[in-house]
Symmetry: C2
Subunit: 420 residues, 2 copies
């Protein structure tokens, strides 16, 4: 039977050029997060299907690659539903597996636990440019830290990494679910309609103030409430200090301890940060995932319309596994987008040690070959990349090709040492 040369639909082969950038980004991420005390961990790519379909993942749960039962457990002929034939699935994110991991291994993990995860996830999304069905995620999470030290460290670590990768003029937008709710409550929305209001608010970037108002009205909300709500956003935007404005304006709708902690995140990060980015309070920031309970944040890059990563606090998720809540906060970098942006900007991985190609004439063998290998060994021990290849008939073309791969020096070996 004919074998197919193409990768499966929506997934891609990674060529050496892109791989070099990926490996470089991975090394910068590991190094930088390491300096912030994050520890690498790994979970299996495969999870029990019940863990993946428990409403933690929102729409992503519709995109799971499910795995067929095996052996006696599988009876295709009598099966009626998908549940009858599947027991496992490929993970669609790294947060659900992390929380399971933490629940399973908490006894052997430090408190707080600062985890770094880099791994593939899978979503059976409609394939489109720049989006693949297998992609790498890169998450840092701090479990067991209730104070805003978690948020501060997560933002500083993430921005330090992006800065080291050469990114400039980006924004970290920050908000808090509790500010979101307080603003909606103050305006007069009923609590049960918050989710619907936030779905509309989330489109502010795309449809603007007018668009948001229009959609809210279409959804049947009272115009006076909508106006009061939107005026609040306009006023925050005008204010010198948006958070302080809300504290004064919203009064008891806002918890004072929360806003003090939120303000401290802003001031601590700003006092310490690189000047490569701006930390901006953005009251329109919603973040889709329903599991967030407090602070939420997002990376906005000028080069790239959408978000390049984000995260927030999710203090109620460990409890779903263990019955006991543990404070948790995470920040995820959009690894694939970052690699894409670097590729598009013509980014070159900083040259390491030298690259030498040895061209060995065909027919060189025996002791002469031993001497070639010995010489290569000595150079390799110094850290040089040495490619030993047979010399082609068209030596000039071969050298051009090798130069394209980054080889800058060439050594030619002939049977007759006088030849050149």
């Amino acid at each position: 039977m004919a074998l197919s040369k193409k990768p499966t639909t929506g997934m891609k082969d990674i060529l050496p050029g892109e791989m070099k950038i990926r490996d470089y980004v991975i090394s910068v991420i590991k190094d930088t997060y390491g300096r912030f005390g994050f520890t690498s961990i790994e979970t299996p790519c495969v999870e029990n299907i019940t863990n993946l379909t428990n409403k933690q993942g929102g729409d992503n749960e519709k995109l799971i690659f499910k795995i067929l039962k095996r052996g006696e457990k599988l009876n295709v002929q009598e099966a009626v539903t998908e549940e009858d034939v599947t027991d496992l699935g490929l993970r669609y994110d790294l947060t659900v597996p992390l929380v399971r991991y933490y629940s399973n291994n908490a006894a052997s993990l430090p408190t707080p636990f600062k985890a770094l995860q880099m791994g593939n996830v899978w979503r059976a999304d409609r394939p489109q440019r720049g989006r693949y069905r297998q992609f790498m995620q890169c998450d840092i999470d701090i479990l067991g830290e209730p104070s805003n030290l978690a948020e501060i460290e997560l933002i500083l670590a993430t921005t330090a990494t992006l800065t080291k990768l050469g990114f400039r003029n980006f924004q970290i937008r920050i908000n808090d679910r509790r500010i979101l709710k307080a603003m909606a409550a103050y305006a007069g929305f009923a609590e049960e309609s918050f989710d619907s209001v936030f779905i509309t608010l989330d489109k502010m970037d795309k449809i603007g103030f007018e668009g948001v108002k229009e959609e809210l009205l279409e959804n049947g909300f009272d115009e006076a409430v909508c106006d009061k709500y939107l005026e609040l956003f306009a006023a925050v935007e005008q204010a010198q200090d948006g958070v302080q404005y809300l504290v004064e304006k919203l009064g008891d709708f806002l918890d004072g301890e929360m806003t003090a902690s939120f303000t401290e995140i802003l001031s601590s990060v700003r006092a310490t940060q690189e000047d490569s980015f701006e930390l901006v309070f953005d009251p329109t920031l919603v973040r889709g995932m329903s599991y967030y309970t407090g602070t939420i944040f997002e990376i906005a890059m000028p080069e790239f319309g959408g978000s390049c990563g984000g995260g927030g606090r999710y203090d109620k998720m460990v409890g779903k596994f263990t019955g006991k809540d543990v404070p948790a906060c995470g920040f995820s970098i959009g690894f694939e987008r970052i690699v894409m942006l670097l590729q598009e900007s013509g980014f070159q991985v900083p040259a390491g040690t030298g690259q030498v190609a040895y061209l060995v004439e065909k027919g060189i063998g025996g002791e002469a070959l031993c001497r070639v290998m010995e010489q290569a060994k000595q150079e390799r021990e110094k850290g040089t990349r040495v490619l030993v290849v047979r010399m082609n008939n068209n030596k000039k073309f071969q050298k051009e090709q090798l130069a394209g791969e980054g080889y800058t020096d060439f050594v030619e070996f002939y049977k007759d040492p006088l030849k050149k």
Copy 2:
């Protein structure tokens, strides 16, 4: 619904201690293979099921995790066979995907192409100690190099990596499929019985000469033929130079060019090699995979009974995808076994830069917190790993725990600077 804390059957969570060793091994592998001119590539973990079930993988094809069709393509109720409900599968090795990758991308790849792959593979094997259903493989392959330069480089690169990881007194056993066949032909076995003979020969390690003879006789082979065959192995073992002995003894059964090339592999590696290992001609080496066409090799470690990796030449596999054969040779390291051996030997990852923990008294916030973060920033920029955590009530216990994680220095921050 209750969520399960355990990883799925046969797969494992990787804890920070093991992860540290894995990351170290990965970095040594990437660095060392890089010096030999190998280039990292990646293929998707998921492949079309037809590529995975095409008899390239032998028994591994029985162990595939198959993925359920999605959307309209799936009709569980009317399905009769597994084929009706599945279109994809998780890869069970890295060789089949590599060959597909090469066939798909040959036009943008150099010749010869030296590929390094590190990635997870999945096999629905019966779970047992030290064997998991998801495990990392680490393969190097050279495609497009017909000469023995491929074998020499593969063996030197693999052994350099193992040596750098601290392994000593190991063996690389080497043989050639064509020597295997010539010996069997010389003894008088018919060509159609070679596979059966080699399956028995492969057990030499476990059942010895007598056991092999017994099994051959049980399988109905002529005793005179069996004796002639086994005497040959005994004579090779006695000989000063086993290959040379066979050249003289087997005469036209052996191809002279092949044995000259084989001898050259032995002499080139021996002339250049580290003294951490021995390269041994082993005429009993069979290697299971049916796709090998020439040289085959295997790593034997004294600490570990079985093989710790292996490989060989498979010149006929690219042709299965493209219709045109391309010379190919690969060497795979048993990554999981190597990590296990390092763990069991009490291996410690070489300490990098310093590790400092900042213990920050609860209640420190505002400007005082900014100063802490600024100090951490400066140390981190020097490469130090700085953990910023809130101080526990039991500070002594906290420090002991942190010391266990590798933190050697502690700085304490109090609201009242005079306190200590």
